[in-house]
């Protein structure tokens, strides 16, 4: 009993400090992991090798591999090129620009981390808005929202998907079949919702629509050769992801292979490339894995799973729906990664009792992916979009976020619930 209580206290304490943002979350996760392992070793309930085994290396390799590809592509200016190109195609018409920038953000975030997508698109968005003489706020908010929504569509789109796929054994294709169609519908609903929410901003006249037509997208790319090489590698990687089931390899390995190929082909300055890797995220994950591993080893997660069973929700569809909303709420206030990492073993324990869990996994995917849009701190993409807005004359306030992000979250979760019922209830 004591080991269970101790590992639970450490986990909750760490989550609390992460929430309070008093210390960097990576440091907290690292300290928490070391602490729980130290206590585990001394009280003999959690050994060092158990701690190492609880790290999901498929997830870590996948994220690391994709980070290297992004680090290679980022300095080429390719993403800025895309944004400028979209700006030109919009001909300075605000709603058309929102649709085009929203689309490009969604597509990029399907394959790259949501946070990275916003970091790459936001500066060019601010440029387009300033030339046109309009406020960048609606576009920045929309980009964060669409980055989070797009991330739900594929296995590699957002870390929770990687974690869930790794635990549930879902393939890249599973996401394309189950998640992508639902996300497409949610995308359209969100776009119309944003058009209504920002109806005043989007109807203001543009001061100088010709200025963005004079931008030459071709001149934005700094290193065309490297851009082409990395895009070829990225393309092949996506094809390999699609063939994952046939090839019997896990996505983590494919990503590492792609990263190695990219590095060998481009031969960049390794220091520059590795400086662009978000080591903090990789270490944060590792730390969380160890802490959750301790919760699992001490039977805490099994006890939680028993609670769910005692609640006697026989219908997995109903439990999946509950999961969408509960996880969405949690993801809006806490980082969706710890939420996902904590819930995965509970669902796994449920599966061990014979409970059909496939629907629960998808509930977790939609809740974790869509919930982050709800608040200004709900996802790293939101935080970065706001940070960019604060470097402009029009900073986004928490209240403004609530006015757009919260309705979008409620709408998208409602749409996800209805579609989930239709897809899994009728055809499941």
């Amino acid at each position: 009993m004591l080991p269970a209580i101790l590992s639970t206290i450490i986990f909750i304490l760490c989550l609390g400090i992460i929430l309070a943002e008093r210390m960097h979350r990576t440091i907290i996760a690292m300290v928490g992991a070391v602490l729980v392992t130290a206590i585990g070793v001394s009280l003999e309930f959690f050994s060092e090798s158990q701690a190492a085994a609880s790290v999901d290396f498929n997830t870590i390799s996948l994220i690391f591999g994709m980070m290297i590809l992004v680090a290679l592509l980022e300095p080429t200016g390719f993403f800025q090129y895309l944004a400028i190109w979209m700006g030109r195609m919009s001909r300075g018409q605000p709603f058309r620009m929102l649709v085009l920038l929203g689309s490009v953000t969604t597509v990029i975030s399907m394959f790259l981390p949501n946070l990275t997508t916003v970091v790459l698109i936001a500066p060019a968005t601010i440029l387009l808005c300033e030339l046109l003489g309009i406020e960048p706020k609606p576009y920045l908010i929309a980009e964060a929202l669409f980055a989070n929504i797009g991330g739900v569509a594929t296995l590699v789109g957002d870390p929770p998907n990687v974690l869930i796929a790794s635990a549930a054994g879902f393939t890249f294709d599973d996401f394309l079949v189950h998640s992508l169609p639902i996300i497409l519908v949610i995308w359209v609903i969100t776009m119309f919702a944003l058009r209504w929410i920002f109806r005043v901003e989007l109807s203001r006249s543009v001061v100088d629509p010709d200025s963005i037509m004079k931008l030459k997208p071709g001149n934005v790319i700094k290193d065309r050769k490297t851009a082409v090489k990395v895009l070829v590698v990225l393309g092949c990687t996506i094809v390999l992801f699609l063939l994952e089931g046939v090839l019997h390899v896990r996505p983590g390995f494919i990503a590492l292979a792609a990263a190695s190929t990219g590095l060998a082909w481009v031969q960049p300055s390794l220091e520059d490339t590795f400086n662009r890797i978000h080591w903090d995220i990789l270490i944060f994950f590792t730390g969380l894995f160890v802490m959750v591993g301790a919760l699992e080893a001490t039977g805490v997660l099994q006890a939680l799973a028993n609670l769910v069973i005692q609640a006697n929700i026989q219908n997995p569809i109903l439990l999946g729906l509950i999961l969408i909303w509960v996880v969405a709420f949690l993801s809006a206030v806490v980082d969706n990664i710890p939420v996902t990492i904590a819930l995965i073993p509970i669902i796994q324990s449920l599966a061990a009792t014979g409970y059909p869990t496939e629907l629960l996994w998808w509930g977790l995917v939609f809740g974790a992916g869509l919930g982050g849009n709800g608040t200004i701190i709900g996802s790293t993409a939101n935080v970065v979009a706001v940070a960019f807005s604060e470097k402009t004359r029009f900073p986004i306030t928490a209240q403004q976020w609530m006015k757009s992000g919260l309705p979008v979250t409620l709408l998208s979760c409602a749409a996800a619930s209805v579609l989930y019922l239709l897809v899994f209830g009728l055809f499941g």
Binding site: G77, A124, L127, V206, D208, S211, K214, L215, K391
Partner: protein, 155 residues
């Protein structure tokens, strides 16, 4: 040679209570790029630099994007003007902390300070931090070069 020998003694200054609009007017009227802010005892409080004032209208993307060579038309921003609310604010809000020297400072040392702090003018103060004069990079640089014994080096 020391900085006292090449500094301008007649300095255009802004009182501590001056607004941003006052600063803009003084700079444009006197065609100057650095405006020392002083208190009633003539003590140096800070500097308003031309760049600080220009930043009021500089597009945000200039700071956010590394290379902007592909933008050759600043569109709406080209005609952007600072709002009345900004111009009515006290100028000291845009003031940068002064890099100043005493009048006995050597020319090379003064130039090195300008270079290190990326500024173009150096206020000169006495031991009580009272403003005595101001010297620009051109004032100091040309004064220094005039001391070079060019003829003997060439021979």
């Amino acid at each position: 040679m020391i900085i006292r020998d090449c500094m301008k003694q007649k300095v255009i200054t802004l009182p501590n209570t001056g607004t941003t609009l006052d600063a803009v007017r003084l700079c444009t009227q006197h065609h100057i790029g650095t405006l020392p802010v002083i208190d009633e005892k003539r003590q140096l409080l800070g500097l308003i630099r031309l760049q600080d004032l220009i930043n009021l209208v500089m597009p945000d993307f200039v700071r956010l994007i590394d290379e902007i060579d592909f933008v050759r038309d600043f569109g709406a921003m080209e005609h952007h003007q600072p709002g009345a609310d900004l111009l009515e604010q006290p100028a000291r809000l845009f003031m940068s902390s002064p890099v100043s020297v005493e009048e006995t400072t050597g020319l090379l040392c003064a130039l090195a300070l300008l270079h290190k702090h990326q500024v173009s003018d150096l206020p000169v103060v006495d031991a009580e931090n009272r403003l005595l004069g101001i010297a620009s990079q051109v004032d100091i640089g040309t004064a220094l070069m005039s001391t070079w014994n060019v003829v003997s080096v060439l021979d």
